[in-house]
Symmetry: C2
């Protein structure tokens, strides 16, 4: 099920979308069967790009923030999903400890914490925020503009448990992607549920592993839909341990950009697509100061090389070798108030609970929008009494244009589930 | 979790409601633990009456209709709950057969069927409507005013399965309370899930059994809240096999009315309640042509006796003996557009998915509203960005006045779960 949200799409429904809409019962059943075998990530957000001819996730976060961009109308869906999630993990739970990322925090991030607290509180848990930031020495309360307040308390680590003063949680919810490494204070917590697990953090996660898993599930969904999986799957390749300090550092990137661009060009030709293909170079885990770079041709590649040179020259300390992913770029055809926009899908347990548009007026259709200057526009619920229904004669009901985003978002979430199974250090191996 | 709907309550929050609001995490946890041991009814609707000093369910339907009175905003919650329900019962399901009550159908009931079809369709099932009405000889399509249509098909009974032409469902959803008895066509269906089970129909169900089970769970919730369970539990007694054709038929009713009224009077005195106590006499199963009768005193009792006499005199055939329940009347203090109103709570699986007000301009605060002339007013979602949250300083957020209705509604649903366990003909008995 995907809530019927009003998207910015107003054009005709193309073949891919029609195929997805028509296959709704089969798609839902397929997900249902998948969730019998695989555990959905506790929560996730997925950036989706819709080029019209193709639709893909481009980023899957397993410690999503920005929950505050979900509208009050979406909160009941999130709460209901949170209840389902909690019930499976720790039904006897009274207390939930949310561990935010380390400070300093933007007001938007604090709003995100308030929203998470609200969701789990309404799901029937006492929620408190426990910081693992060594800089937070004592309980700190911040008053927010809307009259609410956020209290961050320093966590107290026991031998096998993590908690707060007079607060012993059954479950610990991480809202911290562990980019800086797994702190010792989170290790060897044997008596509580730590969610998402530590291996969902960037020290273990690799975007290339995620998209490899995504490729597999996209193939299977493509087969079910009877479409070329490329229509929902961005091609990619990777370079491990790129040492940008060395002159040879760019070699792998240059060659992989070429490989991926060639594959994309071939696909564009096959489908008669007139747009200019492009790839996106990004860190294979976490973020990298190089940022997310769009490469369309040799000129862009040269600009990237020059950019790397400047970066290296201006640093005091050498850049550590880092893995990079070269991913097929998917342009976005959506516009909100004339600005380039991409939908972001929020999931909790196995449910799509809402979403919003990330909008960036200063960026092009082939550039990353998750950058300073981005804005967020909530998606509204479609309140027509005539909800979409396959089988109803055309025109009788409004199609749920958000549905296909919910499908691709959940497909990325399913890929994350496979990915986490594969990287689980405690996985039981059956021969 | 209970969605934050706007109720007609505008007065101050009394002690009982405050207790319920403050205990939210404990209440939710209690329900969570109950659902680990007990299976929620597939779906239910519960009529609730709020007298201010006390709050009670007065009727629990296990084959609820009137789903069409839920607003489009509530549908996503119902769909998400339906997904959870289906996933537990028959995750591999492709098809769902909905069996409506036998015709002729009002337009409102057909709208109800459309809403149910919509909910389960969006949950990812192919839904068709299979009639067990012997009068329906062939597939019949009715066009509705909103442009949608309803197609009823005669069911086809196999040796062990029920279906339609080219439609073999995994699950059969009854929207038919079997008042007229369990038809043979629904018996001995061994290979499909029949939901709710046949023993949830009126041939087996007794309201007095339901309220006995409710009394038990209300005691336990009362203990958890630290309140007298009477504040959420209507007192009752019953008369079995009342033969109204006999002059002695009224004896049991007269004496039980007296017993219950005396108990209620004592409670009113204990709490210093100045209102006039009353009881409600109603059929212990299904409906009875006597209707639902309010009795406040000897005069009302005499009117009831006279009414019975007229009823008996005007009939050609004798009245069959029938069980009756004498239940403490709970007046309703809610008004919508100056008319007396009572909230009706809808649940699916273990979730409250919505509700509406049943309103009757021609009825008093101590009369049944579920009668010809009743109207339905949807409850709107509270869209304030500040959702209710215990612990937030008073005034900082709007309390969810719908919450306590959701609690009492779910308490009745939990009672139904106990009731169905006790009457399950296939229950395994552990010594």
């Amino acid at each position: 099920m995907v809530p019927h949200l009003i998207t910015a799409l107003t054009g005709p429904i193309n073949e891919l979308e029609q195929r997805v809409l028509d296959s709704m019962p089969a798609i839902e059943r397929w997900f249902r069967l998948e969730w019998m075998e695989h555990t959905p990530p506790f929560y996730a957000s997925v950036d989706v790009r819709n080029a019209g001819f193709k639709l893909s996730p481009v980023s899957t976060r397993l410690f999503p923030s920005a929950w505050n961009n979900l509208t009050p109308e979406m909160v009941p869906l999130a709460v209901q999903a949170a209840m389902a999630a909690i019930e499976k993990i720790c039904p006897e739970a009274r207390n939930l400890l949310v561990v935010p990322k380390n400070g300093p925090h933007s007001l938007a991030y604090l709003d995100n914490l308030v929203q998470l607290r609200r969701i789990f509180n309404m799901a029937g848990l006492n929620v408190r925020l426990g910081s693992i930031d060594p800089a937070l020495k004592k309980t700190t309360t911040v008053e927010l503009q809307n009259g609410e307040s956020v209290t961050l308390e320093p966590v107290i680590r026991g031998k096998r448990r993590l908690g707060l003063k007079d607060f012993d949680p059954c479950t610990i919810l991480l809202n911290n992607d562990l980019s800086a490494g797994v702190p010792g204070i989170l290790e060897e917590i044997f008596e509580q549920y730590l969610l998402p697990p530590l291996h969902a953090g960037w020290p273990t996660r690799r975007k290339s592993k995620h998209f490899k898993a995504y490729e597999e599930v996209a193939k299977r969904l493509g087969k079910l839909l009877g479409v070329d999986p490329w229509l929902i799957n961005p091609l990619f390749d990777k370079c491990e341990e790129v040492d940008l300090d060395q002159d040879s550092g760019m070699e792998c990137l240059r060659s992989q950009v070429d490989v991926v661009l060639t594959r994309v060009r071939r696909k564009y030709k096959e489908y008669g697509i007139k747009e200019k293909p492009f790839v996106v170079v990004k860190a294979d885990h976490g973020t990298h100061e190089l940022g997310i770079v769009t490469v369309r041709d040799a000129k862009d590649m040269q600009a990237l090389a020059d950019h790397v040179k400047t970066l290296v020259k201006n640093r005091q300390t050498p850049l550590m070798p880092h893995g990079f992913m070269v991913q097929e770029g998917v342009m976005t055809q959506e516009r909100v108030n004339n600005a380039v926009a991409e939908p972001v899908i929020y999931t909790m347990d196995r449910y799509v609970v809402g979403g919003f548009y990330r909008v960036h007026a200063g960026r092009g259709v082939d550039e990353a929008l998750n950058a300073p200057g981005a804005d967020y526009v909530p998606l509204a619920f479609e309140h027509s009494t005539q909800l979409p229904q396959p089988g109803v004669k055309p025109g009788a009901s409004l199609p749920n244009r958000f549905y296909m985003y919910g499908v691709v978002g959940r497909l990325a979430m399913l890929a994350a589930s496979y990915e986490l199974e594969a990287t689980d250090p405690e996985a039981e191996v059956y021969d």
